[in-house]
């Protein structure tokens, strides 16, 4: 057991930092506060990810056969930390490289792989994730959007909601019902967003521009080749996908950076004095540290091929605690920083509330921890 970074991992982090220093514009924080789903950041991400790809930093953790460099899970989390704490200049494309690409590698047909993977690897692809529905949020298997086969095509009817990045996405990773069985009746379709019969409406939100949407499918037709894997096979595939995304976004990294910034501002005003503010700052820092080390525990398990279940959910809970503590610290001690003058703190505060909601509510994670880590009896349904 050792907590020091290996030289190659430290060097990798420094390489990313140098790349960011060179490639992020001087006014980046002001641009980044619109959020990864905004038009401005999405457009920026296309050229930024292109440069990342040229520098070998877009998909370093992908297998060499797919254009990656076969780097380990430590490199993946280092990359994710540096990008997220920089305001995620990859925009929505972080999703592609973390789990959409690897899912296509494993379950996609040769045609699908040839169509989508090179574009993801070039850093020029925007995807959205069509999972949640009005009556199927945490209870994802209750989804009702239906894909009906008609000869060589599927016809899709239904509605998705709270869909991130849908406004500017070219492709939707869509879950739709092809059968009646709760879980075995769900399939995945890779749906071009310019197909006829798709309407996207932006939902005004607290968390930035262009982030969440409603997506309506009204008789949208897709070719049979849009089906990913077997019909009815979605549940296993998304299990694999979520396993790749299980660590999620390393939110603790930006939270810790925001905390550091807040303390610096308070110090510059001579206001980081007295026990109350200092105790709360340390408390928030300790929660960020717990989330960081918990994440590393999962990465370590992955590198050794022994990742169990439940641990990643515990990390999600720890991350929510850290995000909250930093958000609360800023609201309590530096409320004026939540306006335009401090875009980093404003952006952090705006999006921190998502930590316990996006990609599986915190309450679901607590249930998973209770059942899978602690072995507590399940609640009867």
């Amino acid at each position: 057991m050792k907590f020091e970074w290996a030289p190659q991992h430290q060097a990798f982090r420094e390489k990313i930092r140098a790349f960011l220093a060179e490639n992020l514009p001087a006014d980046w924080e002001h641009r980044a506060h619109h959020g990864p789903g905004s038009r401005e950041q999405t457009e920026f991400s296309r050229q930024f990810c292109g440069k990342l790809a040229e520098a070998g930093l877009l998909i370093p953790h992908w297998p060499i056969a797919w254009g990656g460099r076969g780097m380990d899970a430590w490199c993946q989390i280092i990359l994710a930390e540096e990008m997220w704490q920089a305001g995620e200049p990859r925009g929505a494309q972080y999703m592609n490289v973390n789990w959409i690409g690897p899912t296509l590698m494993r379950y996609g047909s040769a045609t699908q792989q040839a169509r989508y993977l090179p574009r993801i690897a070039r850093g020029d692809a925007i995807w959205c994730q069509g999972f949640s529905e009005p009556d199927a949020g945490s209870d994802l298997a209750a989804l009702r959007t239906r894909a009906t086969r008609d000869g060589d095509i599927y016809r899709i009817e239904g509605q998705k909601i709270w869909t991130s990045y849908a406004g500017l996405a070219e492709t939707c990773f869509l879950l739709a019902r092809t059968g009646t069985d709760r879980k075995r009746g769900i399939s995945i379709f890779l749906v071009p967003m310019d197909s006829a019969g798709i309407e996207v409406r932006s939902i005004p939100s607290l968390i930035g521009e262009g982030d969440i949407h409603e997506v309506f499918f009204d008789g949208t037709e897709v070719q049979g080749e849009a089906l990913l894997g077997e019909e009815g096979g979605a549940w296993d595939i998304i299990g694999f996908s979520l396993n790749n995304e299980r660590l999620g976004i390393p939110r603790y990294a930006l939270a810790r950076r925001a905390l550091g910034r807040a303390v610096t501002i308070l110090q510059s005003r001579g206001a980081f004095i007295g026990e109350a503010v200092r105790v709360q700052a340390s408390r928030a820092a300790s929660l960020c540290e717990a989330a960081r080390l918990g994440s590393y525990d999962i990465v370590d398990q992955r590198v050794r091929g022994v990742a169990g279940t439940g641990g990643a959910s515990a990390v999600r809970v720890a991350t929510v605690m850290a995000e909250r503590a930093v958000g609360e610290f800023v609201v309590e001690f530096l409320p004026d920083s939540l306006c335009e003058a401090e875009p980093l703190l404003k952006a952090h505060h705006q999006r921190a509330i998502v930590a316990g909601i996006a990609s599986g509510a915190a309450e679901i994670q607590l249930n998973l921890v209770a059942t899978e880590l602690l072995g507590l009896p399940r609640e009867p349904r």
């Binding site: 057991m1 929660l287 809970v317 507590l376």
Partner: protein
């Protein structure tokens, strides 16, 4: 970054588990506030399990792993100070070892007894002395450690010797010891609560199947996991800021969890028939050490962001 145990650490903790097996459960007729075993103490000392931090290649990290593992036992053993503080002072320091802060309000001291080495953390230096009978006033406490009050002013103890270790270094190591011990105690306290609420039925189903309890226990285990990682990292890094954060996090986590666990046991949680208190009341004793969670947090702020009070 490598968070699994080394082969040597696995071997040490495996051997420790075998040694401690007879002490893994409280005796069936145990009804006391405290459980101690002289045999266990001797076996740990003779087996060299308290000397890990004397070995540079094992260091404070392996010592912290030992502290956390032994804290899981229902028996209170003088492990943390011997394993983590004693090596800073030298191999000739006699066990048992206890530690006090000079100038801090009087409080019961764990493992204080005539003949014990008392390490005194002053503001700017470290001294120690061997407690004489007249220095010690035995007391009964509800805390699950053997404890006594030091009646001699630590500054004026007879035969006190000065040590060539900075006070900040000793404080940091004490914080690591505290955090590692809390992490181990939390682990067992949560574990035995999970067992109890999985078996105890009300309304026709196990208590632990109610979401109100599941979520709070899940949160408790997340915090306990954090306490463990922060303690181990601080042990490894030797950084005083890490140590202060680890102690703060552990004391803060334990503060919320201890009451919850007794709550989940219902009336059984106020009896001495279940050994829960053997972990939770040790936790309570640790909540106030080194000034408690707020003092650790203020200390951490000084170390991370610079002194500015």
């Amino acid at each position: 970054m490598e968070l699994s145990l080394s082969a040597e650490q696995s071997a040490i903790l495996g051997a420790l588990e075998r040694l401690a097996k007879p002490y893994a459960n409280a005796p069936i007729n145990s009804r006391g506030f405290t459980l101690v075993s002289g045999e266990l103490d001797r076996a740990l000392e003779d087996g060299g399990f308290l000397d890990m931090a004397f070995e540079p290649e094992l260091g404070a990290l392996t010592a912290a792993l030992v502290v956390a593992q032994l804290a899981r036992l229902p028996y209170a053993a003088e492990v943390a100070a011997s394993s983590l503080l004693r090596p800073l002072l030298g191999a000739d320091v006699k066990r048992p070892v206890c530690a006090v802060e000079a100038g801090a309000p009087a409080r019961p001291v764990r493992f204080l007894a005539p003949g014990a080495t008392v390490i005194v953390l002053h503001r700017d230096r470290v001294t120690s002395f061997t407690a004489a009978a007249g220095d010690v006033c035995n007391i009964e406490t509800i805390f699950a450690y053997p404890m006594a009050i030091l009646v001699t002013e630590a500054d004026h103890a007879a035969g006190a010797v000065a040590h060539d270790v900075p006070a900040a270094t000793l404080r940091a190591r004490w914080q690591v010891a505290l955090a590692a011990e809390i992490a181990g105690l939390l682990d067992s306290a949560i574990g035995c609560t999970v067992t109890y609420v999985s078996e105890r039925k009300q309304f026709g189903r196990p208590l632990g199947s109610f979401q109100g309890m599941r979520h709070r226990l899940a949160e408790a285990t997340v915090r306990a996991g954090g306490a463990r990682w922060l303690a181990l990292m601080a042990a490894d890094s030797g950084d005083p800021g890490d140590a202060a954060l680890a102690a703060h996090f552990a004391q803060d986590a334990a503060t919320g969890i201890v009451y919850d666990l007794h709550q989940f046991f219902g009336a059984m949680g106020v009896t001495l028939e279940h050994p829960l208190h053997l972990w939770t009341y040790r936790l309570k004793a640790l909540l106030s050490e080194l000034g408690g969670r707020s003092a650790q947090a203020a200390d951490a702020a000084d170390l991370i962001w610079g002194v500015g009070r």
